[in-house]
């Protein structure tokens, strides 16, 4: 009854947005993201402060015209640090997601297209990883690599592919049963060319939509690792460490952790809007 092949779902939903015009949410998200990237790129250049140079005499000052976001425990300008951290965190966010995205999409294509034992192996592996306590994994990786980007990269390489594999597998499986795949085979197309030329373009938009919303989750996860003392090591400015370092001042010096927190929230909103927009665009295409 509720068969939900990609084709029927996309054609059945009435397209309210005018054809040819991208959804408003997508535009809003992209604009917001562009503004964030611009701020992150420009502020460290324009700022008179060095994000890692301490000035103990100026420690823990509240926001003022001199320091719009105040200063932290070591007297560093928080605005400059938020922007400098943004460069690292945004790059990290993209960099960390790249490998899991490729691996997960490939695994999902194979599992969904062939079914059988490749599917079983991939399902077993992903189920076992999900059943493995996440924080144990995070901690173990951090203990082996030392806290820092290496550990974050490795952790999300191990865990991150699963969500893409599952999404792509579902989408591929529903495509693979379609008659045109059979006919493509009959016509002598190789599996490789069916997978890459026919399947991939069809499932990619779904995978990208997942990618965008997963990035927010990743960013929040990195921030949380900072809270647990497993995040990016100082002196590299990082939103997670900044929020975590300031959390014990929350009642007395709110700005130390709240203002870096706002940066994460803004990125979250931007990416959520983009993800939403992409989904709409996909459905309405």
């Amino acid at each position: 009854m509720t068969t939900r092949t990609a084709s029927s779902a996309s054609s059945a939903v009435p397209a309210r947005d005018r054809a040819g015009r991208p959804p408003r949410t997508l535009v809003a998200g992209l604009v917001l993201l562009a503004l964030i990237v611009l701020a992150v790129a420009l502020i460290p250049i324009l700022s008179p402060y060095d994000p890692i140079a301490e000035d103990i005499a100026a420690m823990l000052q509240p926001p003022s015209p001199v320091h719009p976001f105040g200063t932290d425990q070591l007297g560093r300008d928080i605005l400059t640090r938020v922007a400098a951290a943004g460069r690292i965190d945004l790059a990290l966010m993209v960099g960390v997601e790249a490998a899991p995205f490729v691996i997960g999409t490939a695994a999902g294509l194979v599992a969904g297209f062939y079914g059988g034992w490749p599917d079983r192996v991939i399902t077993l592996l992903s189920d076992a990883l999900i059943a493995f306590p996440f924080y144990l994994l995070v901690a173990v990786v951090a203990f082996v690599t030392g806290t820092g980007m290496k550990g974050i990269f490795l952790t999300f390489l191990i865990m991150g592919w699963i969500i893409f594999a599952r999404t792509v597998k579902g989408a591929t499986a529903s495509l693979a049963s379609a008659e045109w795949v059979e006919s493509a085979r009959v016509m002598g197309f190789s599996d490789w060319s069916i997978l890459t030329r026919q399947m991939l373009p069809n499932v990619l938009s779904q995978a990208v939509a997942v990618l965008v919303s997963d990035m927010v989750a990743l960013l929040v996860a990195i921030v949380t690792l900072g809270y647990l003392g497993l995040g990016i090591a100082p002196p590299t400015p990082d939103w997670g460490t900044m929020i975590a370092d300031g959390q014990s001042f929350l009642a007395t010096r709110w700005w130390v952790s709240t203002l870096p927190g706002c940066a994460v929230v803004l990125v979250g909103i931007a990416l959520a809007l983009i993800g939403d927009g992409l989904n709409d665009a996909r459905r309405d295409a």
Partner: protein, 528 residues
């Protein structure tokens, strides 16, 4: 009253609201629900006159074995149940405790203690000198002793019921201070007829409290010892050690009165609690110094000029200010001021001086600078901040330092295997004698190899051995003064700061005595 009612009403309405929503999930877990909570601060159901003091601590009490335990979660529970012959006060001065007096012979070989009258264990039996002799001998025999008695003891005897006599083969001045440690508390002879393991599950001592309810991974409830030798004390009926792992959570529970005190409030929260509407702080000087340690076996840090260069480069006052929020003194020497013979106020330390830092580096094997790593335990905010300050200071003289942040267990394994170049760590005296710190930090022959720095200076070694046998007085003071200056000049470690011991309590708490070893005495506590 009205706010209470409002709160109750809200609570009821809320519970009802959520209950409706949760019906499904509740069915799944309700059969396991009820048993999980144990008594907390409010549940003084068995009588209005009961007063309970709830103390928030970050870790559970796991053992009462006074000889094998050392970590503070256990030590500061053990010292509520067992008491030694001598103890120390707020300033670290040694005072008679279960002994009403003590005498040390002029040759330093015989220690004689006379017990107080009317001493009883918590089960009502009398305390005799035989109990003390048993306790000390048992401690000596303990293979796993965490703080073993290091004196060369010839005999421990009880000439009569009230007298304990310890004879030494060679003089050892720190003995009296060592005996003041919680690990030399007095247990009943032959554990009162029980097996050792059974005894420590249900310990009997002379202390102000007895164990009443104990969850080894959670809260511990003490009841007052009705046979306590200090008449009319303790002033509270129950003492609850409540495990609150998160520091911010503990602060909030103190503010709302869910706990009456916090054992280790974070330094950054202290001002807030000191000025709080319902909270205040109690404080004293500590026996702890936080230090930067150099691995002197490392090619770079074997060079004394490199170490001196970094000492001159670092502004210790900045470190102190940034990470302790004014609740510490910048340390000039390894001996905290609260320990006798500390030269904190008279020593000549290597204070921040950029020119001298540069010239020291020029005299070293690495005039052009070099790269190295600072080993820091992750999750320790103060050390993370300190490492960053050191990093900036070193960068200014051309030394590039990277921060290697690892978890506590890895940290410990690494430095104990001498697998580090610079680390930040703390050094604590276990008992109020200079030797407790100097021996551990400067004796290359001990297993700690000068606190894992491999630092060795024959002159210092000789002097510290000499100080162990020199009776207290000017001669001993001179020896420690010389040692401290040598250590400051040769810099196997840079003393950074010595934080105050701070406890945060509710405003109505009176009589809490804070001790320099980070413990507290509860027997005088009353709730106003």
């Amino acid at each position: 009253m009205t706010t209470k009612n409002l709160k109750k009403g809200l609570r009821g309405a809320l519970a009802a609201g959520i209950a409706a929503v949760l019906a499904l999930s509740l069915a799944a877990c309700s059969q396991t629900g009820g048993q999980t909570t144990s008594a907390t601060g409010e549940s003084g159901a068995n009588g209005q006159s009961q007063t309970t003091f709830t103390y928030a601590r970050s870790a559970a009490v796991t053992s009462f074995n006074l000889w094998t335990e050392i970590t503070s979660n256990n030590a500061f529970a053990i010292d509520k149940v067992f008491e030694p012959l001598v103890s120390f006060d707020k300033d670290g001065k040694i005072i008679d405790w279960l002994a009403k007096s003590h005498k040390i012979s002029d040759d330093g070989l015989t220690y004689t203690f006379t017990l107080r009258d009317g001493l009883k264990f918590s089960d009502g039996t009398d305390v005799t000198a035989a109990d003390a002799v048993f306790s000390i001998k048992q401690h000596q025999a303990e293979k796993d002793a965490a703080l073993p008695l290091t004196a060369d003891i010839a005999s421990v005897d009880a000439p009569d019921d009230k007298t304990v006599e310890i004879k030494l083969n060679s003089a050892y001045t720190p003995l009296l201070a060592e005996l003041a440690n919680f690990s030399n508390g007095i247990v009943p002879k032959d554990f009162g007829g029980k097996s050792e393991s059974a005894f420590f599950k249900n310990p009997v001592g002379t202390g102000p409290f007895v164990v009443s309810k104990w969850d080894k991974s959670g809260d511990l409830t003490f009841a007052k010892n009705k046979n306590y030798w200090q008449q009319g004390k303790p002033g509270i009926d129950k003492l609850v050690y409540k495990v609150v792992e998160d520091g911010t959570q503990a602060v909030n529970q103190l503010k709302t009165g869910e706990v009456d005190g916090i054992e280790s409030p974070a330094l950054e929260n202290i001002d807030e609690l000191a000025d709080g509407a319902d909270t205040k702080i109690e404080t004293t000087g500590s026996w702890v110094t936080d230090e930067l340690f150099f691995n002197t076996a490392d090619e770079h840090f074997s060079d004394v000029h490199v170490r001196r260069a970094l000492a001159y480069a670092l502004n210790r006052d900045d470190v102190t200010k940034a990470v302790t929020f004014g609740h510490a003194v910048t340390a000039n020497t390894v001996l905290p001021k609260a320990i006798r013979y500390s030269t904190q106020d008279s020593i000549k330390p290597l204070n921040n001086d950029q020119a001298k830092a540069k010239s020291e580096l020029e005299q070293s094997k690495y005039p052009q600078g070099f790269s190295a790593k600072i080993l820091v335990p992750s999750g320790n905010n103060a050390y993370q901040q300190t490492a960053q300050l050191l990093q900036s200071a070193a960068a200014k003289i051309g030394v590039k330092l990277d921060i290697d942040s690892v978890d506590m267990a890895t940290f410990r394994s690494r430095f104990k295997a001498f697998d580090y170049q610079i680390m930040i760590n703390s050094a604590q005296a276990d008992y109020p004698d200079a030797d407790s710190i100097i021996d551990f930090q400067a004796d290359p022959d001990g297993f700690s190899k000068s606190y894992w720095t491999s630092y060795s200076n024959d002159e210092v070694t000789k002097e510290l051995k000499q100080a162990q046998v020199t009776p207290d007085g000017d001669e001993r003071a001179a020896l420690y003064e010389k040692i401290q200056q040598t250590l400051a000049d040769e810099v196997p470690y840079i003393p950074l700061y010595s934080s105050d011991i701070v406890k945060a309590v509710r405003k109505n708490v009176n009589g809490l005595e804070v001790l320099p070893n980070d413990s507290v005495r509860f027997q005088d506590v009353t709730l106003g």
